[in-house]
Amino acid sequence: MKSNINQQIEKEAVFGIIPIAPDQKIYSFFTAFLVLSGYCIATWSYTQGAYLATLVGFKQLLISAFFGAILMLSIYQLPVILSVRYGIDIWIWFRTIFGQRGIKIMAVIIIAINFPWYAVCADLFASSVRHVAEILGIHLSSSAHLPLALLCVFSGTLLAYRGVKAITWTTWLLVPLLLIVGALVIIIGFTAIPAEAIWNYRPDTSAYANPQTPYLMSIEANFAFVITLVGGMAAIPRLTKGERSGYWAGVLGQGLSGSFFVVVGAVIAIATQYTTGTMSEDPAAMLAALSMPTPLLACGSLFLVAFSNIGTQAVGAYSYGVMLKSSFRHLDYRLLIFLLAAYVSILCFWGGITAYFSSFLTISACVYAPLAALLFVDFFFVRKQKISLSSAFALPGHQAYTFTAGINWIGFFCIAAGMAISLAIYNPVSGQVHHPWLFYLTPTGCAFIGTGVIYYLCSKTPRLRTYMLQDRKECGQ
């Protein structure tokens, strides 16, 4: 059975990435929109909403959450049309930017910066279970938090270990579960306090010298939040029947549905502050505080939050396990998911991921924004929408994406430059703004524009152009 799972994953890792022919496409706009809506809702959306509520009032929060997200999505998701056209994931296109070996390095970097989300999940699970126990009259001390978080990681990994079938079942259960959680949170949040209290809410931002800084930070947080989806943005659109459908399903699925759940998170954070006098960033604590008068509702919603986190953990471990397997085919899938679980467990032992949530978001965006910019510029302006599929899949006799021993150093140089731009504007750990004027464009926005310009200029330099574009003959140009 064990080797059977490994073979199934091997099949998924290799044949799950080959081009989908036009007649094999299965999704219309509406189906892709629904699937992507499910994909981008997770309980961490509430953490993001609660964080935004510490920065801006409700009206500004609505604007930055919806319009900020849709603006960033409408730009960086444009290359999704390549996935629909070629029927491939963007990770295949990235081979043209980083090289056949370079993409493996990039996959590891992306997982390293993305996996802390799963430590947030584990933290929420532990918090939810502790609150359920509290409501049931069982006091669990804070020392129980870590074992509970590790239990979430272990359970999720166990599901991922059981392979494709278990994950398919988990996904089927997870999306409705998250929607039920969302509905309960909405009911609890909106019935807890008067609507005017939410509408007129304003946080205390007297600590900021420039009154615009918190608003800009909220826009940055939304840019950073949506751009972290770049790695998985093409998995569903590559199966859609039209380029327009694939693109708008991504923009609206994540921009409307995802942002809606962020706003819901903000509403419960505001309601909690209104009723208890303190602002919390922990959705489980907020739900427990708000639904205390109806213990059954409190227990039910917290149970659902807890178990949806196990599901999210399982789907994350599985999808990143497959991603690693497609890069490192000689490694056993089970070893890979064990390594991922070990990484999340270390983060749980550290215990600071929720406290450093905003820093973690911006640090992630430091890498994601240059990554998205490279894809955008490469697709539209450098390779002009054409690649050699034979070289991308490294078929014998096709080596246009081998570059220097499998690595395109220009791609890595541009990523480093983009990160430097972002960090030169804003220190995500200390929260210090270094360049107030550039901060108006947000660190993520500046890193995106800066990386794109540098990469484009590289492609216009004759010697670098020859190095970057070795596939033109194969593309018939």
Binding site: I63, R85, L389
Partner: protein
């Protein structure tokens, strides 16, 4: 004698090549509905509206 791993790799490459050829043939017959200049225009308008709203939001 070829090793088992080498044979498997060769088999896999043949299958991928066949899939790419199949994709190229089908793409010539029925390519997915393309993103038209009108779609780019709509995207730019949506982007401009979002940007304008973000600027207006700073005055709240």
């Amino acid at each position: 004698m070829k090793s088992k791993q080498f044979v498997e790799q060769e088999k896999m490459q043949k299958e991928i090549k066949a899939k790419i050829v199949e994709w190229e043939d089908k793409e010539k017959v029925s390519s997915p509905l393309r993103f038209q200049p009108r779609d780019y225009l709509i995207t730019i308008i949506v982007g401009m509206i979002c940007l304008a709203m973000l600027i207006l939001g700073s005055a709240l």
